[in-house]
Symmetry: C2
Subunit: 436 residues, 2 copies
Amino acid sequence: MSSISTDQADLQATRDASRKSWLASANDAHSDFPIQNLPFGIFGDTRNPAPRAGVAIGDAIVDLSALAEAGKLTLAQGGAVFAKPALNDFIALGRDVWRSVRIQLSALLEANCPTLRDDAGLRARALVAQADATLHLPVEIPGYTDFYSSKEHATNVGSMFRDPKNALLPNWSEIPIGYNGRASSVVASGTPVRRPNGQLKLPDQERPVFGACRKLDIELETGFIVGRGNALGEPIACADAEDHIFGMVLLNDWSARDIQQWEYVPLGPFNAKTFATTISPWIVTLDALEPFRVAQPRQEPEPLAYLRHDGDHGFDIELEVRLRPADAKEASTIARTNFKHMYWTMAQQLAHHTVSGCNTRVGDLMGSGTISGPTPDSFGSLLEMTWNGQRPLELASGGTRAFIADGDSLTLAGWCQGDGYRVGFGLCEGTILPAR
Amino acid sequence: MSSISTDQADLQATRDASRKSWLASANDAHSDFPIQNLPFGIFGDTRNPAPRAGVAIGDAIVDLSALAEAGKLTLAQGGAVFAKPALNDFIALGRDVWRSVRIQLSALLEANCPTLRDDAGLRARALVAQADATLHLPVEIPGYTDFYSSKEHATNVGSMFRDPKNALLPNWSEIPIGYNGRASSVVASGTPVRRPNGQLKLPDQERPVFGACRKLDIELETGFIVGRGNALGEPIACADAEDHIFGMVLLNDWSARDIQQWEYVPLGPFNAKTFATTISPWIVTLDALEPFRVAQPRQEPEPLAYLRHDGDHGFDIELEVRLRPADAKEASTIARTNFKHMYWTMAQQLAHHTVSGCNTRVGDLMGSGTISGPTPDSFGSLLEMTWNGQRPLELASGGTRAFIADGDSLTLAGWCQGDGYRVGFGLCEGTILPAR
């Protein structure tokens, strides 16, 4: 069965909609992790808490280290990269290796393959229940950049904070606007988020006051992980940019709107964003997302030459935001949107990021910017949903929200809907602790 | 002689103005590296190119690895940290260790200490001529933040780009404004800098064009290196902040003014800055800078409580910018200023950075922001010196400059002037290569 291959036909077979696994939970139409997905992450479990590489399948995790040790997963470079507490060294081996591992795993997990299915001892060593696992940040993140690529979001924010008549700034339709974020405070899903303190400028006072953020918000984003960097001074061409992407995650760019509004001119948001950014723990590879490729929105004016690419570079990823107050049993879905609305593509973002010569590194995280759709129930932030707090949301679980309350749990979910299966991202969750 | 101590009297002795070294070049009144300085860096040499830790003294470098191996430098944790290609692991050992190493080195290099002076074999192993060495980045930089803390610079830029009547924005005098920079493109002095390409918005055209930056500039800054980080959610108090600083470097925040002006609203500078940031190779410790502590400028209005600290937190550091055209034999000094003009202190910058709960890590680089003095010959950028190109500089070597030309070599220099000696930073140099 498993052989080292990066053959296109073998790769195509990993995405076959009719493919099933011998692991029943992977064949559930609502599982985020069918055999067509195989996302990579870093986990530890109750038996062995050491963080190491795994791949999600149904309600389980394949322990890549254990599988390599048993000789069932073959890497020319050896399996030691899977024992590391971050995926960077594995990712740095290059796309042929990612693909070979994907193809080998897909074969091992396929319904008719007896290797793991019929070997109880090997299964006990190499399969861990997700319920017994702790998920960590999948990569060490050398750099974090956040873009601003939803036209609807930029228009909404421009209307509120600047001029509704000229909501979209002239540079927005020429540049995939982005800024450097703070990599140190990127945390894995499930990490509690402390409400930040900072300077607040109240309308009735001449000087700012110091205190807890009163307008705590989410930003529904995705992020991509750089799989191949570029050297300083050597830009990545737009046409080649997707070859530099390992995969995608969900990203919540927590935002303190009151701190942001006072601090952001002229150098951009800082303390309003640096207190935490949460990402989902599984990196869904571009290879798994390939069947869900769609055209990006029409770009008018036509971008400058360095931002042009042929073909389709959007992805049809359904996205949801859920809010559960501390005292509620169930979460309320407060927004539904789709990644396909994004104006600037990931390839354009990466081409623009590097066109000045800026270097990127394996593991760099690039946030999409808030993903807002055209209607209020598809907006990706409370700022937009409640129009800066003026129109509080009614929660299905009872109560209202202008912004996030202490104890609220916010969850992002995302998936590509296939025929009878979905390629999902797992959850991106954070619960708010009161300010210090 | 060398014993493990962090005694205040021993530490004070390392700074004694009358202290001399047996290494004659260290006693030159114009050397940046007298026995009172002892800055840390990472070097390799012609005999052994492996990057490792060193301390500059006169025209030489003390190889800390070699000294530890010879048993002449004692660390409870062992000398292996000195063999690493970055100082992070050494710095992470904490201030008591930095101080103990400083005290031991000062004793070993002092005129009357025979240990190294009289042992030709040991000197051959543990002293390397700076002329034979290549200097590398001293630390691996997990995060780079750039502040904007010179009132004169912020006023000049505000006058040019916004409104001369309200040049200083209302938040500037309340917040040590800063933004996240790009850590990946921080390079060591001597690394050539490629002129960036990017989007330029010319006044007579409706749409931007793509091309090489026409307004390439420097920003004269210093930077500090975080020596002790803080956990996410646990701010650093202003009164404790200097304890978290390992030392300082010179920093040139290369800037593409035309790219910057078109891209920076609303999220701040990005491609205009991410193509390169050059730092000087030696980290001058706060312990070496202590004799040059001065009062910061009076802050009016009084800062909010979390930004208050007693005592003096400025440093008297003389700074120069030199420009040498490709065809010139000598550099022209185009600006002279002083770090003591900085309005916001390093302690206030770090307290503000973390007050939201943002975590910092050992090796983080925090830029001061352009250091401009009150007069045009003390401005820290060509943007200000030439008032956005309107008043080109006359170079002493002949020719004029509105902005930087290809082939120009730009050098920052800085030192604290003591009585008969100077505690210097070495040079921070970069030469411009033409755009691709």
